[in-house]
Subunit: 337 residues, 2 copies
DNA sequence: TTGTAGGCGTTATCAC
DNA sequence: GTGATAACGCCTACAA
């Protein structure tokens, strides 16, 4: 059996209350006693039992982060930002993907059963009823990333998708002279894809350009599928004033590679832009014009909000909106302006 | 105050022991009583308090994963594999990077103070004394990834770096006819870099090739620095029978880009190979010959070992070794054989 | 099959 | 300043 507070008390010849005071840094304890207790603690290698402590304090100092998936740089950066922030605030971070495996294996499900977590930040790619229901009576501080649940009161951090998408499409139209813009999205039901599509469509209208449903494709955010699609279609897309807006960088990279393979010059015959500004954006040739999404910051702010709420459950719900930023490189054929 | 086991007992007109039995699925309880209790549980929305439970059971069902860094696909894939496995086994996964921030902010440090975790899997890129000391009296089930601590008894999962590195260098020498192989590593102190370098050197000798310290570079595993280096050096590297072995794919990608920028043909004038088989390996042009490291599996096996040990602390230490595999693409100028 | 009671290791509230 | 002692919510002999 591990050494407990009473062992320390015995060795130091004090009561357990005194030991507790020393451990918790209470200052109403005599310097000499403290020294004696501390020595006993060291000698015994005593470490407070976190369960017993949690039983009293009702805090685990652990928060959760649930993402739609753990694949790819986008999520990985969110985790990274979240981790830094969590550690900074003295919390540990449990991560999990909501997808994959049966529903009953999801972290949210587990949390609902019984959870040590002090709170959880959740990002969902599709807001199904199931998720909705799961989220509404979590009885746990909740921060939503990149979406909102009507009715429920919770903190959230979102990125201004529309603004970012509009900026890059506007750049295409205003500065690169695009007359036609092809849109390649992720899953049609994906909330980000929807927002980006709407912004895209809005800018087309605002610029007096014709919108054609034939110029809209829905894929899966993957390099491979974008590459495959572009191998078939890129010649049809190419031409004077042609541009393409891919809803993430990976797909844009796939399209770039396919264009090269098909002998279509970028940006000469086709301007291409992506979204997210992940690492690949700097690794393609030509480098990708894209929209920088502050991924790590998203994670960090979410955890920050979460921990704030953990320590002050009464504080009114906050909503922080992060602004993405246009990053002009060479794939669109126009310098920043 | 939340609803507790005694509330349920009262409502169902039974004792708390009976409720406990129902909750824990003990079968020595009358079907009718069980039904009554279950109904009460639902009605009250009762969820067992995990702290109280942990106090008795001494288990949190949370395990930790500490990586040197959370940046990049390599670590992200380990996390993904670990997460899947953890969920599968009914555990939650705490993730953290060991680097970044002061030492006192590290998860390991926190764990040492007091931790709810049932165990922890740790990967260190450099085995400093500090880390060593931290690890030796963790008093927690420990699995080491990709390294070993002498003396201490612990499970570990390693990948056979030397075998993988040897395979790819041998491929360069035997099948691609390389006469000279440049080595570009990560940090000189990095354990993986060291293993890969040694294998590289071994193969050179075994092939009767001259080893030159001038052909060895140490960078930081990053695209940018490799690009910068190659912009300066790639012309000197190029030539008949010249090849380059980069210790990861990112650096290889940077080198490829620099070669293109400098007008050096790959693989014509310089064969290039990488390591890891991350996503970029398929996104470069030409696609990268590399060594596939089963990243997700590493994470999964580590967690598997860890959870096994949590439930059976007496089981002898296990050591699983994962074999990387040569993946031949086009950057080396030779088909697989 | 069910109930009683003791204990898990802390913190918090009192007295002294 | 310090020490009893009562929670905290659950599990588990042991008794009935």
């Amino acid at each position: 059996m591990a050494v407990s507070i009473s062992d320390v008390a015995r060795l130091a010849n004090v009561s357990i209350s005194t030991v507790s005071r020393v451990v918790n840094g209470s200052n109403l304890v005599n310097a000499q006693t403290r020294a004696r207790v501390e020595s006993a603690i060291r000698q015994l290698g005593y470490r407070p039992n976190p369960f017993a402590r949690g039983l009293m304090l009702r805090k685990s100092e652990i928060v959760g982060l649930v993402l739609p998936d753990l694949h790819g740089e986008f999520y990985s950066e969110i985790i990274r930002g979240a981790n830094v922030q969590a550690r900074q605030l003295g919390y540990s971070l449990v991560v999990s993907s909501s997808r994959g495996g049966e529903e009953s294996h999801s972290l949210l499900h587990a949390i609902k059963q019984r959870s040590l977590l002090d709170g959880v930040a959740v990002m969902v790619s599709e807001l199904t009823d199931q998720v909705h229901e799961l989220l509404t009576d979590l009885r746990l501080p909740l921060v939503l990333l990149d979406s909102d649940i009507e009715g429920a009161s919770h903190d959230s951090v979102v990125i201004d998708q529309r603004q970012g998408a509009a900026a890059v499409v506007r750049h295409l139209v205003m500065r690169c002279g695009a007359q036609r813009v092809v849109f390649v999205g992720g899953l049609k039901t994906n909330v980000d894809t929807i927002a980006r599509f709407e912004a895209y469509r809005g800018v087309l209208e605002e610029g007096g350009l014709r919108f054609s449903a034939d110029d809209v494709y829905y894929l899966d955010y993957g390099y491979e599928s974008a590459y495959a699609l572009a191998r078939r279609e890129v010649r049809g897309w190419a031409g004077r004033g042609s541009a393409l807006f891919a809803a993430n960088d990976e797909m844009a990279a796939g399209i770039l590679a396919a264009a090269a393979a098909e002998g279509v010059r970028v940006p000469g015959e086709l301007a291409v832009v992506g979204f997210d500004d992940t690492r690949v954006a700097r690794m393609t040739r030509p480098p990708l014009t894209t929209v920088r999404v502050p991924m790590a910051e998203m994670g960090a702010r979410a955890i920050e909000l979460l921990c704030e709420r953990v320590s002050d459950p009464k504080r009114p719900a906050a909503r922080v909106s992060l602004q993405p930023r246009l990053i002009v490189r060479e794939s669109c054929g126009a310098k920043a302006g």
